[in-house]
């Protein structure tokens, strides 16, 4: 009984982490069709931003304020990754729209460069981020069932990010322009929307969300130059399974992979569990090649 509850919670928690790392990609890859191999490195940038915030707090501010650093680290990670995204889009990505193979290679190159950059600045070894005291420990439901605050916090953070994104994309003028450009670029341009600016903004927002993911991941995982490589495959898996182009599909994709992964891992072993999940995904995509939620569009492509 306890194990069932714990495993359900673990499944939910893994799903939330998958969703967080895939959300940014759902925008850059899902909406914009840029095969962004540097997505993992944008996550890494977010993680290092958190590390920097922590270092600044611990060396320049009184220790009583230390516990507040994490709240500030989230927007800072977003802003720094956002800035990197903007730079990347302006200098490279915008020349590669509609050339998926080229963008795959170019962004992969960028990923390697960013990794080496992190290695040069911060050194090859991992750095440690001390989690704030208010996230230590867990919520005790019953004997043997402890829900760690960090995982609850990540679930909450994902929910909040989703809500903000929903309002931005579906309820704001900027979001409406964004959807218009993604659905029918020429028509949107005819109606006076600056597609260049929308492209840049969209890519930067996707990058910024990757930064938030990096910030959250410092709570539970390693922080090193190779951090991005651990998550990039999962992120693509979630977006492809969910259906390219629809955020709601990404949510279902993350839930599906997270829950089945923890289940299989519990029944078998970690390596075999992962293989089984992949097999399921391959089988599913044979049946529905467009993923869980297929995008309906009037664009002729």
């Amino acid at each position: 009984m306890e194990i069932t509850i714990i495993q359900l919670f673990n499944g939910l928690s893994v799903s939330s982490i998958l969703l967080l790392i895939a959300l940014g990609l759902a925008i850059t890859f899902g909406l914009m069709n840029v095969i962004n191999m540097a997505h993992g490195e944008l996550i890494m940038i977010g993680a290092y931003s958190t590390y920097l915030t922590q270092t600044i707090f611990s060396s320049y501010l009184p220790s009583s304020m230390f516990n507040a650093y994490f709240i500030l680290a989230i927007p800072i990670s977003f802003m720094i990754a956002f800035a990197f995204g903007l730079l990347l889009e302006g200098t490279l990505i915008r020349f590669l729209y509609g050339r998926p193979l080229d963008s795959l290679l170019a962004t992969w190159g960028i990923a390697l460069m960013l990794q080496q950059l992190a290695r040069t600045i911060f050194g090859a070894p991992n750095v440690a981020v001390k989690s704030p005291a208010w996230l230590d420990g867990g919520l005790k439901l019953m004997d043997g069932v402890v829900l760690p605050y960090k995982r609850l916090f990540i679930i909450g953070l994902v929910a909040l990010t989703l809500i903000i994104m929903f309002f931005y994309i579906y309820r704001s003028n900027a979001g409406r322009r964004m959807r218009a450009v993604m659905q029918n670029r020429d028509m949107a341009a005819c109606l006076g929307i600056s597609t260049r600016r929308v492209d840049a903004m969209t890519f930067a927002i996707g990058s910024g969300i990757a930064g938030i993911a990096g910030c959250a991941l410092t709570l539970i995982g390693p922080i090193g130059p190779a951090l991005g490589t651990y998550y990039i495959v999962d992120a693509f898996m979630v977006v492809v399974l969910g259906g390219v182009g629809k955020l709601i599909g990404t949510i279902f994709g993350a839930l599906g992979i997270g829950l089945t992964n923890t289940m299989f891992e519990y029944w078998t072993t970690a390596s075999l569990g992962k293989v089984l999940v992949f097999l399921c995904i391959v089988a599913f995509l044979q049946w529905r090649p467009k993923g869980l939620v297929a995008m309906k569009t009037r664009a002729l492509d």
């Binding site: 194990i3 714990i6 495993q7 673990n10 928690s13 893994v14 982490i17 200098t91 490279l92 020349f95 460069m113 080496q116 950059l117 290695r119 040069t120 600045i121 911060f122 050194g123 090859a124 070894p125 991992n126 750095v127 440690a128 981020v129 001390k130 989690s131 230590d136 420990g137 867990g138 043997g144 402890v146 760690p148 605050y149 960090k150 995982r151 709570l219 539970i220 995982g221 390693p222 922080i223 090193g224 190779a226 951090l227 490589t229 651990y230 998550y231 923890t262 891992e265 519990y266 072993t269 970690a270 390596s271 569990g273 992962k274």
Partner: protein
């Protein structure tokens, strides 16, 4: 407009490269001071700059991963080897000649290790090579060294069951780390063992040995699990551990997985006082990256700690911190790389030549007061006699030694002296 585009693209690409490169060097020089040592002295030469071959110098190879995932660990070993070379040079060199290190990058890629080893021996004509970390890199280099009759000094603890005539193993083999650690745990911490490791050769071989030993010494296996390298979510694994209720977790995870595992173990409310975790690949360097708060109280088994109380160690730690920054730490493989250089130098002095056969002959039985205590080269299998130490992580990120073997333990890579291990090895 259309014709314009490739131009713009090229310009932007170049600008991007320049900016990134600029950031890179700026960051390095701006100096967190912790990581890349300013290349001190003139003894470092890049890969290709051939040193004059007029016999005034002796060229030695250093082959570690300076990029890629393994650079996390290997860069520090390279640093300590360079330091040893500089120290020896300052004292007048070997056979009156200065040592010139030729560095190559194995790039965390095993075929690259083999290729660079071949280059070092055949093209650069180095007389010996210090290098390698993972067993995969050693296995890749082994045939090259045997074919060209080179000499490799390998500085890391490994899974045993190997003894190449062209390799000196200055790290621990299983009977100097894993076997005594299991015995100690059985005596002091409990009988039920949970074996957790990364899914590759070292953990699987190590666990095969541990399982035999548990059978022979009255232990009990509560579970055995492997996770892929780079695995980052241990929630399910921890649920399995909670269900199995072991006394001890024997941890052979490697690399970044350790960070995720220990952080999530603490979050699940399991502390060192509930279940002891003993790790064989978490040293001082790794503690810095994992965070002391989650590791405090857990155990590790090594042959050397920064806190090991010997005269040689005080000097070693002082020099290392002076050379590479106050907040750097030393650790077992760093020490093993350092003494490898000294052992080789002593063997060459004794042999009077750098010729491989003579050096090997001279190395037999060679002794050294290493930072980790007295070591001696075993003539038969070219491993070292080393003292086994079990340590507990303290609040300052250093180890407190709980137990040591008292005297250097004879290396036994094939576990010939253990009756229960008979089924494991057919050398």
């Amino acid at each position: 407009m259309k014709r314009n585009r490739p131009w713009k693209f090229a310009v932007c690409a170049v600008v991007l490269c320049v900016v990134l490169a600029g950031c890179g060097s700026g960051g390095g020089a701006g100096g967190k001071g912790t990581n890349k040592p300013a290349s001190s002295g003139s003894s470092e030469t890049g890969g290709d700059t051939a040193a004059p071959g007029d016999g005034d110098v002796i060229k030695v190879g250093i082959l570690h991963s300076l990029s890629g995932t393994m650079s996390i660990s290997e860069v520090s070993v390279k640093d300590s080897e360079l330091m040893a070379i500089q120290e020896i040079n300052a004292k007048g060199g070997v056979l009156g000649k200065q040592l010139v290190p030729v560095m190559e990058d194995g790039a965390s890629d095993w075929p690259t290790f083999a290729e660079k080893a071949r280059k070092l021996i055949s093209e650069n004509k180095v007389v010996t090579v210090f290098g390698g970390w993972t067993s995969a890199s050693r296995k890749a280099m082994l045939p090259v060294f045997e074919e060209l009759n080179g000499l490799l000094w390998y500085p890391v603890q490994y899974e045993g069951l190997e003894a190449s005539p062209n390799i000196f193993y200055t790290g621990a083999t299983t009977n100097q780390q894993i076997v005594p650690a299991v015995s100690w745990l059985l005596e002091n911490r409990g009988k039920r063992f949970f074996l957790l490791g990364s899914d590759y050769v070292f953990p699987q071989t190590a666990n095969k040995i541990i399982k035999e030993q548990l059978k022979a010494e009255g232990g009990e296996l509560a579970g055995e699990e492997y996770t892929p390298l780079g695995h980052t979510d241990y929630s399910t694994m921890i649920a399995k551990i909670q269900k199995a209720k072991p006394d001890v977790i024997f941890n052979t995870l490697n690399g970044d997985s350790n960070v995720a595992f220990f952080k999530q173990l603490k979050d699940a409310g399991i502390s060192a006082s509930d279940i002891t975790t003993l790790s064989v690949s978490v040293a001082e360097e790794e503690i810095r990256g994992i965070g002391v708060d989650v590791l405090q109280g857990h155990l590790a088994a090594w042959n050397y700690y920064q806190t090991t109380d010997t005269e040689a160690n005080q000097a070693f730690v002082d020099h290392y911190k002076k050379a590479y920054g106050k907040d750097r730490v030393t650790a077992d493989p760093i020490e093993a790389g350092y003494i490898a250089v000294y052992l080789w130098a002593a063997a060459v002095e004794k042999a009077g030549t750098t010729e491989v056969g003579a050096v090997k002959e001279a190395a037999k039985g060679l002794e050294l007061d290493a930072p980790g205590g007295k070591v001696k080269i075993d003539g038969d299998n070219q491993h070292l006699y080393k003292t086994v130490r079990i340590g507990e992580v303290q609040a300052d990120g250093q180890f407190k030694e709980l137990w040591n073997s008292g005297e250097p333990v004879k290396p036994d890579p094939y576990l010939k002296d253990y009756a229960w291990a008979a089924s494991l090895s057919t050398p």
